[in-house]
Amino acid sequence: MTEREFKRKSCSTENFADEVLEEIWIEFENNNKEIKPGIEVEADQVPKDTLNDLLEQGYIEKQDEKLILTDQGFERAKHLIRSHRLAERLLSDVLNFSDEEVERTACRYEHLLTDEAVDSVCTLLGHPRSCPHGKPIPQGRCCVEGAVKFRPLVVSLADLEPGEEAQVEYIGTKDNTRLAYLTSFGFVPRRTIRLLRKRPAFVVAVEESFVSLDEELAKEIFVRPRLTQVKLRRKKRRGFGWGRK
């Protein structure tokens, strides 16, 4: 794309290099190509001015006549995409921004957040897998470690306490049969449920019926607990009781 088109698209007036890296990542995604260090970047993906910048910062290098994405470039692009999409999630899910507002604001976040800040947001949101547009969010170390440092906004059903009401956010499994299983019992996103007991198995109130499931399945259902006053019995408080009274 031309230099002008490009500057129009980006939200920041400074970090064109960042923007280009993001565009590269998105291009590869759209074409269903795997993104990793060492892949070749098309010359027309990189506007001329920015190319020097990218070369200087070590994000791209020249091999023979080709442009190659370096390790650094890969990591930086990944970080940017991750921050952007997590920010989108945060703004739209938690702060209820409109689609437009999300677009405008998320774009800035990615340049401001450090790795740690991003991981914190990720943990807060319960390590979501995709942005509101359905695009995948690259995983960070926190996702791999399944970090639950303080009680995230989104937890698995297994982590709820009996009596708590919550809204289903997403289902963790990717296996279609399991998904069909769970959704057929009413565990669909945006459905409100209440956990009633955990022993001898989980019992959940869904709509007008009671469903019982084992812990294994409960771990796959991710919910957002209602931030209301809840009678908690003998519960060990972990970290902040975020939003709990």
Binding site: G134, N176, T177, P200, E208, S209, V211, D214, L217
Partner: protein, 657 residues
């Protein structure tokens, strides 16, 4: 007329006849609706899998109505659900889809309705159990819903007949649903592409099939389209994979979410709740879940079972049938007839020692039938009351050890009634591994009620403590074998999830009808096999093989099991007729040819011994010949091995009863 795939299922009819397909979840009163529409009742139950057989009937105007196995979600997850999906896929353009759903669980019902709507068939939505919804303050604007969806919507309380007239009228005038679900354009495109490929096979149902396949695991694509050309299947799979790669979330979830948006919209415009605040139940107290009380209840249930089946049926009723009915009237009558005819071979065949009437029929009708029927009565009561799912929950963790989950409660408990039927019911388990383990445990150590009758008779002499010890030993072995087979057999355990329906006091009419159907099944399926078994015995006796068998087996019986050689005969009989084997041993004990320790060991071995011929046939049918032989072989060896080991150990410690 388009070609059909998967025509080798017995219950898919010739396509020309117009039919009504009853679809929907299990436990929503679908079978009751069926019986109301056809005037012929069908088994109703609280958990998936009992209505495994397809039931057909005719409506008032001669319309063919077919009840399909309960479907729980947008994609089939078990064999009988797959059958339902296939039936819809193979329906012709003028077939009618009657979706029976639970009115009070509106969202869940609507999600399914929108799934069925993709089949583009004339359709009727029946919101059943409307009385339960009303009791909870839920009211549904049925006409509004009908106009939104473009199909007739009728609310009913089928069990009392309420609304049935309206439903019958609606079925005569169904209409094709409007297209109200909007999928992501990429998914829509994929659905269209796949539809195109399948058009010549599924005609107007191609879209339904396409969306189902997009939401399924790839292995299902192969299964569902197994009769399709390999290249076409590959093409379809490629489209699915390509589409999936464009999204981070699984396609099934995205498809469900699109449908759900419509569900939510319909819910808010059509459903009125007495209190509009979300009023999910706040607690769930149930004594059957109590860590202690729950097991007390279970023991109470088992005790009732024992009293009714073991004492009353196995004792009183069988006595009457065997000694009075057959003993005084039927058998002598036939003996006289055959004496008159005076052909020795015929006499022997029918009324001899292994006679078809004196042994086969007597055994089947006088002994086994009353016991099994009594068991079915109690079992049907438990089903309808809503207790069984709770039992499943209670035992779920224990079953996990055996590589099973709570769902296995149904076949395993049924095994106490009739192992053959129980083996058939293992179909409801989700994975092959679980089905094999359940079948194995049934074949190995779950005594059927006929056998239990004899065992209990035995232990009424040996003593209660001996009985407890016996069951403990049995139980431990079952757990051990289950545990080991779970480790050895490859495959995953399936996750456990079940609905807990409200406790309902069972309707006696239901119970009797269910028992009737099960009893009828038993007469049709099991009794002929008992007759066959008797005949084989007769033949073996005539040819003179029996003593040979005896001699082959007796070294093991004598040396390893320390039992009298005659016991070998009882074991062989045990294959052909479980009860007869046990009874044979009982006879030896009575005559003083075995002491109490030998009696104990013999009981153990006969319980562990190979499944009876009827069960064996069923295992072949359900699991295949290879698996059947493997299981039987293992059980055969194991029963002698374990029996002998226990025998030696007991002798070592000089145990007596």
């Amino acid at each position: 007329m388009h070609e059909h795939v998967n025509l080798d299922r017995e219950f898919i009819l010739a396509n020309k006849e117009k039919k009504v397909l009853l679809v929907g979840q299990a436990n929503v009163g679908k079978s009751v609706v069926f019986s109301q529409l056809t005037g012929k009742y069908v088994t109703v139950s609280n958990y998936p899998g009992t209505t495994v057989e397809i039931t057909k009937g005719f409506g008032e105007k001669g319309l063919l109505i077919i009840d399909t196995p309960g479907v729980s979600g947008v994609v089939p997850k078990s064999e009988d659900e797959r059958i339902s999906f296939e039936m819809i896929a193979n329906a012709s353009d003028n077939d009618i889809l009657l979706h029976v759903g639970d009115a009070k669980n509106f969202k869940r019902t609507l999600l399914l309705a929108l799934t069925f709507a993709e089949a583009s068939l004339p359709m009727v939505l029946n919101l059943n159990m409307i009385d339960e919804a009303e009791k909870r303050g839920i009211s549904i604007d049925v006409s509004r819903l009908s106009s939104e969806m473009g199909i007739p919507v009728v609310s009913t309380a089928a069990i009392s007949g309420r609304g049935m007239e309206n439903l019958k009228k609606a079925v005569e005038e169904p209409s094709k649903p409007k297209k109200i679900v909007n999928y992501d354009p990429r998914i829509e495109l994929a659905a269209e592409k796949i539809s195109e490929i399948l058009k010549e096979y599924f005609g107007g149902r191609s879209r339904f099939v396409a969306l189902t396949l997009l939401a399924s695991n790839l292995s299902y694509v192969d299964e569902f389209l197994s009769n399709l050309d390999f290249k076409l299947r590959k093409e379809i799979k490629k489209i699915i994979l390509d589409t999936q790669s464009q999204f981070a979330e699984p396609l099934s979830l995205l498809i469900i979410q699109s449908r759900n948006e419509v569900v939510e919209r319909l819910f808010s415009s059509v459903v009125l709740m007495r209190s509009m605040k979300a009023r999910l139940a706040k607690n769930f107290y149930d004594p059957s879940f109590h860590p202690v009380f729950g097991y007390v209840i279970l023991l109470a249930v088992l005790y009732v079972l024992y009293q009714f089946v073991g004492v009353f049926a196995a004792g009183t009723v069988v006595d009457f049938f065997e000694n009075v009915l057959f003993g005084k009237y039927i058998n002598p009558f036939f003996i006289r007839i055959f004496q008159l005819i005076n052909i020795p071979f015929m006499t022997d065949l029918f009324v001899g020692e292994y006679g078809l009437i004196t042994m086969g029929l007597t055994y089947a009708i006088a002994i086994v039938f009353p016991i099994v029927t009594a068991f079915f009565l109690v079992f049907s009561f438990l089903e309808d009351s809503g207790y069984l799912p709770r039992l499943a929950v209670l035992l779920n963790r224990t079953f996990n050890w055996l590589g099973l989950n709570g769902k296995a409660v149904v076949p395993l408990v049924l095994g106490l009634g009739c192992g053959t039927m129980a083996t058939m019911v293992t179909r409801v388990l989700d994975t092959k591994k679980e089905r094999i383990i359940a079948t194995l445990l049934l074949a190995l150590g779950i005594p059927c009620s006929a056998q239990l009758g004899v065992i209990l008779g035995f232990f009424s002499i040996l003593g209660f403590k001996a009985l407890i010890f016996f069951f403990l030993l049995l139980g431990i072995q079952l757990v051990l074998v289950g545990y080991l087979s779970a480790k050895i057999i490859p495959g995953k355990k399936s996750a456990f999830i079940t609905e807990l329906p409200p406790y309902r006091f069972p309707q006696l009419k239901n119970i009797f009808l269910k028992t009737y159907y099960r009893g009828r099944w038993f007469v049709k399926e099991a009794i002929p096999l008992f007759m066959l078994g008797t005949f084989i015995l007769f033949a073996a006796d005539k040819i003179g093989i029996l003593p040979t068998f005896n001699n082959l087996v007796s070294p093991i019986v004598k040396g390893w099991l320390d039992l009298p050689p005659k016991a070998a005969e009882a074991f062989i009989l045990g294959f052909l007729r479980r009860d007869y084997g046990a009874a044979g041993l009982y006879a030896l004990f009575e005559k003083g040819m075995m002491n109490s320790l030998q009696a104990f060991v013999s009981m153990l071995v006969i319980t562990l011994f190979v499944p009876c011929i009827a069960n064996f046939m069923m295992i072949i049918k359900e699991r295949g010949l290879k698996t059947a032989l493997a299981i039987t072989g293992f059980v055969f060896v194991y029963s002698f091995l374990a029996g002998g080991l226990i025998n030696k150990i007991l002798r070592l410690f000089n145990v007596s009863f």
